[in-house]
């Protein structure tokens, strides 16, 4: 008892600071949510609560939600097929060249999204059908999210020494296809799942690239959000944010739970954790930035 009371001061100070930081982060979010549910933001909560802004968002921007989900799923499919294969290849042939490829793959993350988008537009802008289709945005998202899938899968493949497992399966007579489906995939499940959640989260929240690549008929959710903040009532923008939260928060929780599970199962899986942190900040940033 005495020790805890002696530590008391520092403890309360720490708690106060922690709560303060939490408030600093939560209050804007809460205000935004509240704004989306308020009849008239200039009068305040006194004007009464309503869901009519949410209904309005649904009727105005429903399509952006479906497009965002569609692109996210298509993006997931692409990165699963490409990323797992690429990671598998690189894990089996560890060398200078594969390390270089790994670095190159990170480029779209390091280069500003606007620059990548500009490159895509310069290259394919003349191809009208492609330029105006949602596939154009998909290409950008795949470019941007692929490295996250590759790194996540590659990390787990190196951690479990997939090369030797492969050799072992081969020594027992398994063909390449059998090895891939019975040994490689099941043992990389954790990394693939973590990568998949990250890809979906990043794709749903992607703004920089998408803002450059979109056309009036191919607006995604974050682009629509920017549009609503710029041209609609503040309440509609805020209600839109609520919709965005509803989509993104389950993904984040799932991802967090998964990486906690992974950390318990395996001692080190550094990439899933750090990537979880970046994606945690990233998808929220457009709305936060808009809000400020």
């Amino acid at each position: 008892m005495t020790t805890t009371s002696r530590r008391g001061n520092a403890y309360w100070l720490q708690l106060a600071l922690t709560l303060l930081v939490c408030l600093f982060m939560v209050v804007p979010v809460a205000l935004s949510v509240l704004a989306g549910l308020t009849n008239n933001i200039f009068i305040g909560v006194a004007s009464g609560l309503t869901t009519r802004w949410l209904v309005e968002v649904w009727s105005l921007y429903r399509n952006t939600i479906f497009l965002s989900l569609g692109i996210a799923l298509a993006c997931l499919a692409c990165t699963l097929v490409l990323g797992v294969q690429a990671a598998y290849y690189m894990a089996l042939r560890r060398g200078r060249i594969t390390r270089l490829i790994e670095e190159l793959l990170m480029l779209p993350v390091a280069v500003p999204g606007l620059a990548t988008a500009l490159g895509l537009i310069l290259l394919y802008g003349g191809w009208q059908a492609f330029r105006t289709s949602w596939v154009f945005i998909l290409v950008g998202h795949v470019l941007f999210t692929l490295p996250f899938m590759v790194r996540s899968v590659l990390a787990i493949m190196s951690a479990i020494d997939i090369r030797t497992l492969e050799d072992a399966a081969a020594s027992l007579g398994a063909s390449r296809l059998q090895r891939f489906f019975t040994v490689v995939l099941p043992n990389c499940r954790q990394g693939i799942l973590a990568g998949a959640l990250m890809v979906v989260t990043l794709s749903v929240g992607e703004f920089n690239l998408t803002w450059m690549l979109h056309t009036p008929t191919t607006q995604t959710l974050p682009v629509g959000l920017a549009d609503s903040y710029a041209s609609m009532r503040l309440e509609i923008g805020s209600a839109y944010t609520i919709v965005f939260f509803f989509m993104i928060i389950p993904l984040l929780v799932l991802m967090q739970g998964l990486s906690a599970l992974g950390a318990r199962a395996r001692k080190h899986q550094p990439l899933a954790d750090s990537a979880g942190a970046t994606s945690g900040a990233d998808p929220l940033s457009p709305s936060e930035a808009r809000h400020a």
């Binding site: 479990i160 020494d161 050799d167 072992a168 399966a169 043992n187």
Partner: protein
């Protein structure tokens, strides 16, 4: 079980992509049912040789790998019918013990009833019955080792390849498992190639030992031959403890630091080397009274090791001599002792070989 398969390597060399020559082209004949140990320090080419036999690496053009009468050189590992045990065991973490053992049969599409019978047989043979449904991460090191062995032999491979299978275990377990593996290899009557850097393991397991050094074979022979008659200085140094004395021939004797050692070989017929090196094991030298001693020196250290005492004796040679004795005296640094060699067990290397 089918007839054991002999293995033949002809002119198998290996150059890696970066240009390093890992293995000088070598010829190797491994008899049917024989256990051969590839022994050497890391980087000597023993693992590369094993991987060439396995089909995990392919020899440079010109190399040929034969299993019995069939040329398996172009076949990848999955078509060679080998069983392999890896240093890290490489058990599949997504499967139970029983599923691991059944894997080879499963990919061969063996009939499920036969598969189950074979797995049960393996489980009881390796005393793994109670662990059949366990996950791999719930097993001890020794149990994992036994699963790895069971998995490799469940498919009745033509040859069994073991890549440092005991290195990851602690010393006591290693001794116990070494005996188990030895018994297993005898009872299976299978051709086995065993890679290790541990000479005690090699001695205990091998019908024949192939000592390798810097990508080539340094010596091939039974454990006794390798230990008692090393062909060169590398083998002498690598296997067991060896004393070395520079020697200059005199009439009927070798002049060595600390004294004279009588010559056994008939000096008249043989070419007279200008210089030579005398090699002998710690057990082939005994403490002796001054008048019977060949050499004299002073004790550097006395290590009491229980059933014997190991003395390091400085006779003026580059390295102190190692002398094992069962006498129960107490020695102190600086004590003068006389040494008598068992001249029948001396090994003489002329300088050219000893380089």
């Amino acid at each position: 079980m089918h007839e054991p398969t002999p293995i033949t390597l002809r002119h198998c060399g290996k150059t890696f992509a970066d240009g390093t020559l890992a293995l000088q082209p070598l010829d190797l004949d491994i008899g049917a049912g024989e256990t051969v140990v590839l022994l050497g320090p890391s980087g000597c080419g023993k693992t590369t040789t094993l991987r060439i036999i396995a089909g995990l690496e392919f020899p440079d053009p010109g190399g040929v790998v034969m299993f019995g009468d069939s040329d398996v050189t172009p076949l990848p590992i999955e078509q060679r019918g080998v069983g392999m045990v890896f240093q890290s065991y490489a058990l599949f973490p997504n499967m139970t013990v029983a599923e691991n053992i059944a894997y080879g049969l499963r990919v061969r599409r063996t009939d499920p009833a036969a598969r189950r019978r074979r797995v049960d047989e393996m489980l009881s043979m390796m005393q793994l019955g109670p662990f059949a449904e366990r996950r791999i991460d719930q097993l001890s090191g020794g149990q994992r080792q036994r699963v790895a062995l069971a998995r490799a032999i469940a498919v009745q491979p033509r040859v069994l390849l073991l890549d440092e299978p005991l290195t990851a275990l602690d010393a006591k377990l290693r001794d116990a498992l070494r005996a188990d593996i030895n018994q297993l290899l005898r009872s299976l009557h299978i051709t086995a190639v065993y890679v290790t850097h541990d000479q005690a393991e090699a001695m205990a397991l091998g019908d024949r030992i192939i000592v390798m050094d810097r990508g080539r074979i340094a010596q091939t022979g039974t454990p006794q031959q390798i230990y008692r008659a090393p062909a060169n200085a590398f083998v002498a140094d690598f296997i067991g403890t060896m004393n070395r004395l520079p020697a200059v021939p005199e009439a009927g004797a070798w002049r060595v630091p600390g004294g004279l050692v009588p010559r056994q070989d008939n000096a008249a017929g043989a070419a007279q080397p200008a210089r030579a090196e005398l090699l002998f094991r710690p057990e082939d030298v005994a403490l002796a009274r001054a008048e019977e001693a060949h050499l004299g020196g002073s004790v550097v250290t006395a290590l009491f090791l229980g059933n014997y005492t190991r003395l390091l004796v400085d006779v003026g040679a580059p390295a102190p001599l190692v002398v094992d004795t069962t006498r129960r005296d107490a020695w102190h640094a600086g004590d003068r002792v006389g040494l008598r060699l068992d001249t029948g067990h001396l090994i003489t290397l002329s300088e050219a070989l000893a380089a």
